[in-house]
Amino acid sequence: MDQLTEQEFLRLIEKHKGILHKVARMYMDTPQDREDLHQEIIIQLWKSCNSFKGNSEFSSWMYRVAINTAISYFRKEKKRNDTVAYEQAGEPENENYDPAKDRQLELFYQAVQQLNPVEKALIFYFMEGLSHRETAGHLGISEVNVRVKLNRTKEKLQLIIKQSGYES
């Protein structure tokens, strides 16, 4: 496949911008940091563009670059409140959304902030519906390791959510 032109590239990014949104929400806890990460991922995707050969789905290639960028985009240490309170969860942004599900999603994102970068990647791929094999391919670890780590991460996440006072 020929190298993508700038406009083709930006069209594809627009089509798959949900990946940017979700990765940034998982890895950054403030809107400013998320915006910075969106930009950084787009820049890194553009710089790595010649490695996209078209043999795989654009979204699959984008997952990898986005997650690798987010994982290694270490922010300066800053003080923040790591406790998650169910009462603090934001209001749904869109009335068309299922309010209960939206509230759960908000709480989920807050809880995810307490996971480490690799755990966040595992949960991200799980939520995107990737199989253990696909996740293993993206992370470069074995399927068994993905299964073990994912189960452990889900348990950790549930515990964080439970400690926040949420009850299903």
């Binding site: 700038e6 590239f9 930006l10 627009e14 911008k17 949900g18 940017l20 949104h21 979700k22 940034a24 915006e35 969106h38 930009q39 950084e40 787009i42 820049i43 890194q44 553009w46 710089k47 790595s48 490695s51 996209f52 290639w61 990898r64 670059v65 997650i67 690798n68 960028t69 994982i71 290694s72 985009y73 270490f74 869109n94 959304y97 299922d98 599900k101 759960q104 999603l105 709480l107 989920f108 480490n116 970068p117 690799v118 755990e119 939520m127 519906g129 391919g137 993206h138 992370l139 470069g140 670890i141 074995s142 390791n145 073990v148 780590k149 889900k154 549930q158 959510i161 949420y166 299903s168």
Partner: protein
Amino acid sequence: MNLDELKSAWNIEKTDDVHIPSRMEQLRKANHPLDKLKRNMRNEWYMQWLALCFLGFVPLSSDLHPSTYLVYYAAYAMSVIVSVYYLNIFRRFYQQISHYTADTKDSLTEIYYQFRLNMERYHSFGFLLIPLVLVWGGAFTYSKLQQKGLDFSSLSETSKYSLLALSIGITGLMVWVMPAWTRFYYGKYTRQLKQVLDELKEE
């Protein structure tokens, strides 16, 4: 919370907080730690060349006796030849280090070990300056003695031991400063990378 059920909300989430530019030039410059480090390295590369040029004029500015020029410039030539080798490696390194298209573990492992290797190269490059500094120190002392019509043989035992202690002190200082320099600029990032790599280890 049932994460499988939450996937339906996840899949239809709003994404209007993401602004895709109409042209890439509308984005600010890359701000990733790796890109910042690459910019640092590029600046350091220019500074190292400037410092090397500056060292070529040291005999003239530090009033060395002309008879010491040969010794100084022999040491200088050796430093320049080895520096060219190192500076070329540094240049290739910051041009080559890129990231993110391989799987996560491979990408991070490559970046991590490239950085560790480069930190060691920095140390070696710094240590390369030690003989030049010592040669300059010897030539400078000799020049001062010559101005008084003396030479090294006229130094007292105490002065000789003091010079020896000073040489060892300078060498020790350089050996301490170079790793401290690389730890300050690159240590934090490599430690963070190592932490993520440890997380990816098989269980």
